[in-house]
Symmetry: C2
């Protein structure tokens, strides 16, 4: 349920989900509230007045009896329970007024708006169940059990040219299964990869089990994996569950995983950890939905090239060494159970093919899910992470590239960097006059560190407030307790020790900022190199598609203001969300659509940036906020308030 929050006196409205945190709502609305502890009511500064509606707040000792009577709440510990009107008290506003409104004015490309939707509307998953009553055998009709079964399947599906079956899973108990409910059975059929190939029987169950038919979409990320359960009888999404990839203990990124895989039994261990993670997702979903793992009848998965190799137990050593050759790019359709995954022994695990060592199946799934390969419009697809993967093209051609952005966007190389988990600063504002921060953390607790989206909030705010300059250097024009020079370098104190979970000051340093500039510079140079290689400019790109969990939490204006995204008409930006999961979900819903993944993949050609001279030139020019070439960022420099 959606609730409207009206902030007074600035008269700004924002829509949030029922139960959302009020401080986060204010951040979303661009309303500054001093909040330096990030939540949990420690600093006691974020006092607001409830004028109308219902808030659910923690009882807090930092509020006086009078404050309680006047409906004063701490924003950081309050949840929105209805449409509410909130007044920011004068002393709290500190004359800051509403901040420049940050609008996520980007559209969401989901199944609901993509061109794919028309076809996916016709639900026709790549696995089918049919219920059959077989005629009993007689002495004049005593063909084998399998022949009888195949004969009746062909009668039921007259277009079927040929029927194959799984061995040994299917055959072992076939004779008994057919007779268990007097020749009434449900057959689970796998549609072929090629239209004219044989249909394949992958399971036979006694009686009518057609009501139980589920598919699992699975995003196999380096850090986390997400499973999404779909009822294939009606196309409904049932449940979603995310778990940390248990391989994380063997290395944070793909390179350290490859290195680990070279240890004795390292590859086996990493494969087991991947399987363990997938199983934990399946178990959690099955438990919450009261279904059995064997009711999941297809697993569509996507992951980067290294994740796919490790899951299949394949040598990944040469992915890391020039000329960066993956073992395989089109992964086999395996039986999930053969890898140790908790699944019916015949259920298939599909893994999206990869394009290159650093452009993986997750990108192909996103391109496939977004339907880019269908449209004449030229798209630039951007997935930001340790490696920024970029795809440019349309229904005729696509170029892909990976640019090593470094781990800054995932909190790596940042002094207090961390993943986007509990306590990570994910949003941030600075009061223009007081230079005091408003921090919003994951889980609305006291801060523990800074995650990628926090970094992309902090740096633009420091830049806008003049604390840092375009080179990312501290300007030293402000005399403020939060701006100081440590032994190493200049830094800004985001949260004081007593307000944090780690009981030390959480700061952002000049070195952190430099790392961010290098990361965004690599990405921007990547876009430019790829686009220029086909003689285009940003003006020729019809749509910019931002994929990845990170992409969906980026604030567009801020990202442009630091040169992470190009300064083009905002209407051309679209958030896709988790492209990997989207591709898998749509493939589960419609077999024809699924088959088209091969066309999408075949259009994609990879460009290696690592030895590309153009790329290096673009990169050097991009090591500024937003860029050395002001003409590329007209809106940033045209702003009257800058």
């Amino acid at each position: 349920m959606t609730n409207r929050v009206l902030f007074q006196p600035d008269n700004v409205t924002v829509e949030v989900s029922s139960g959302d945190n009020l401080l986060s709502a204010a951040a979303l609305a661009g309303i500054y509230i001093p909040a330096s502890c990030g939540g949990d009511g420690v600093c006691g500064k974020c006092k607001v007045q409830l004028i109308e509606g219902t808030l659910k707040s923690k009882t807090d000792n930092s509020l006086s009896r009078e404050e309680l009577k006047s409906n004063i709440h701490l924003a950081c510990t309050s949840r929105v329970e209805s449409d509410v009107t909130i007044k920011i008290p004068e002393n709290v506003r500190n004359d800051g007024g509403a901040l420049k409104k940050i609008t996520k004015n980007t559209k969401n490309i989901s199944a609901a708006s993509s061109p794919v939707q028309t076809r996916v509307g016709m639900l026709s998953p790549p696995v089918q169940k049919i219920f059959l009553t077989l005629p009993l055998p007689t002495i004049s009709d005593n063909v084998s059990d399998m022949q009888r079964l195949i004969r009746e399947i062909i009668k039921a599906l007259p277009d079927t040219r040929e029927v194959k079956y799984d061995h040994p899973e299917l055959l072992r108990d076939l004779s008994l299964t057919l007779r268990e409910k007097n020749w009434q059975i449900t057959v689970l059929l796998l549609l072929p990869k090629h239209k004219n190939d044989a249909i394949r029987i992958i399971a036979v169950e006694p009686g009518d089990t057609t009501s139980r038919l589920y598919g699992l979409a699975l995003d196999i990320g380096t850090t986390t994996m997400t499973g999404h359960l779909i009822d294939l009888n009606n196309g409904q999404s049932i449940d979603e569950y995310t778990a940390y990839n248990a391989q994380v203990s063997s290395g944070e990124d793909v390179i350290s995983r490859i290195i680990y895989s070279q240890r004795s039994n390292g590859l086996k261990y990493l494969q087991e950890q991947a399987v363990k993670t997938i199983n934990s997702i399946i178990e959690a979903i099955c438990k919450s939905q009261i279904i059995r793992p064997s009711d999941i009848h297809y697993i569509m998965a996507a992951g980067n090239t290294v994740m796919a190799h490790l899951l299949l137990g394949l040598e990944s050593k040469f992915i890391r060494e020039a000329p960066y050759v993956p073992g395989i790019s089109h992964f086999p359709l395996v039986k999930a159970a053969s890898l140790g995954i908790l699944a019916h022994p015949s259920v298939r695990l599909f893994l999206y093919p990869c394009v290159a060592s650093y452009v993986g199946g997750d990108i192909v799934a996103g391109i496939h899910g977004a339907g880019i390969y269908h449209s004449e419009k030229i798209s630039l697809y951007i997935d930001i992470g340790t490696n920024g993967e970029i795809v440019v093209g349309n229904n005729q051609w696509m170029l892909t590239a990976a640019c090593s952005a470094g781990p800054a966007f995932e909190g790596g190389g940042i002094k207090y960097g961390m993943r986007a988990s509990q306590g990570a600063i994910e949003n941030f504002f600075i009061h223009e006059q007081s230079l005091e921060p408003m921090i919003v953390t994951v889980g609305n607790t006291n801060p523990r560190g800074i995650c990628g989206s926090g970094l992309i909030a902090i740096v633009p705010e420091l830049l806008a407030s003049g604390i840092i300059d375009q080179r990312g250097h501290f300007t030293s024009v402000h005399d403020h307790p939060r701006i100081r020079k440590s032994a190493d370098c200049w830094e800004y104190v985001l949260a004081w020790a007593h307000d944090t979970l780690i009981k030390e000051d959480i700061v952002i340093t000049e070195i952190d900022i430099d790392n961010l500039i290098r990361a965004k510079g690599a990405l921007f140079a990547g876009y430019q190199t790829l686009i220029a290689s086909v003689g285009l400019t940003f003006k020729d790109i019809d749509q910019f598609i931002l994929a990845g969990n990170f992409g969906s939490s980026i604030d567009l204006e801020r990202a442009i203001s630091i040169g992470l995204l190009p300064d083009v008409d905002r209407e051309r930006f679209h958030y896709l969300g988790n492209g990997s999961l989207l591709g898998c979900r749509l493939s589960l819903l419609n077999h024809q659509h699924f088959l088209e993944h091969r066309r999408a993949r075949s259009l994609m050609t990879n460009v290696e940036l690592s030895d590309n001279a153009e790329f290096m030139n673009y990169y050097m020019a991009a090591l500024f906020l937003p860029h050395t070439d002001k003409t590329l960022f007209p809106s940033c420099f045209a702003k009257p308030d800058k």
Copy 2:
């Protein structure tokens, strides 16, 4: 090497292999020599004189110094080492003279004479090895290892539409294998079951291993299994090895095996025993040929329906119960190693499809090997065993039937019956005057019992000498120590206790003879029912093909004389030998021929005899020697000496 043996004074010549036993050579020539101990020189009666040439004889104390000087040898312990002239001494001949000459005047349908041969002549096995040197990857050509491999295969085999590969066997080490000998590799390819399907990479080996490419033809019999190794680079047969099916300890025949399979873990045990037997064959062949089991690149096998089900670990219970339904008739192409067979993990085991519960893949292999499905000529294919399997038809249609002949032909239900192993009486003559026997045993040792071919030698001799009549009853006209009535019934003493390995008289009884009559009656009624069902008679059959190890040891005239085979022009009979093995061998040699097995199989329709009224009528009429209908056996009744 072949040697000629000339027997005097009858002036009869026979050709034998060098090293063959002289008593067996006499039996083959139809020369009677008294030999009641079967060999080993115990009775000392089979004295012959060497006139010319070389015999290799055991030194024997039963010969006097004078006999040794006169070149007298015991036939039973002598082996033919050159062309020889042998004189049967007058006292030994006992005025019997040469017996009615028994000539195996039947032709051998082997690969050498069958219409199949022309095509098999073009050696093109269903697995191929090609040696490739892959171009090294570079930064501008860094497709995945698998893509590079497939690209080069398609260059080498331009007709290839699509290339698939085995997982996980192939993928796991692919990247390392390709680099092991600097991108020089040998690829093992499996040709597809359907002409236009994808070719499949089943193995990649470093370096050039094309010289090692072998196939194993495998006959999976209820009693014995035979493996035949073929060098697929030149089509040469390399080795053959036969082992008893280790399942024998769980039951002699298929029915008792099915019963055993219903025990707890019974099926698993039987499967293991089958695999153990196959492995013992592979081990023996590999040891003798100094190759590795992993050098065998395809296993083509055939067995009856029950053997195939047990090997694959499938429920066979319903094969035994009316309406006699097999679990499956077209067996999957499995990876041999997945069953536990000592083989390269990707090597396939093909099992010929069966027609019905009691017409198995061994019969289909025989029909396929003999090329019957190619010819307009109408053939009657007969495989005699516990179940006689019969096929009649041509390139347009085929009918099959199984008639339960009972175990008589395999020594079952016969008082001294045994399998055709060491000491089994396999050939037999009676001296017309003395009524004394000449027995030839397997291994030329003292007798231990009677095997099927012995039985088919003994009964015609007893009939021809008037000891039994057409109903199989002892006539009692002879007063002879060997003809006597025991507690149960009449019997003829084949060997006295002191001449046997078991130290008791070995006899054939009236009950034994009755069992044989029922067995041959069932077979003959089977031929008649099948032929009559399509409105034909024996006259319309162009060729009679005798398959099976037993078939090849039958003496044609004797088999006709007791009504086991029809009394038609002898030129129409052909011995095929082990049809099961023949089919497998030819399939290994030529993939196009192999693919035709499906057409052969699809022409075959089974007729159930068990509830067929016609069959019962024919059966009752056939319970005579040779038959109640004399017009069916004109040559038997036209004989002047009967």
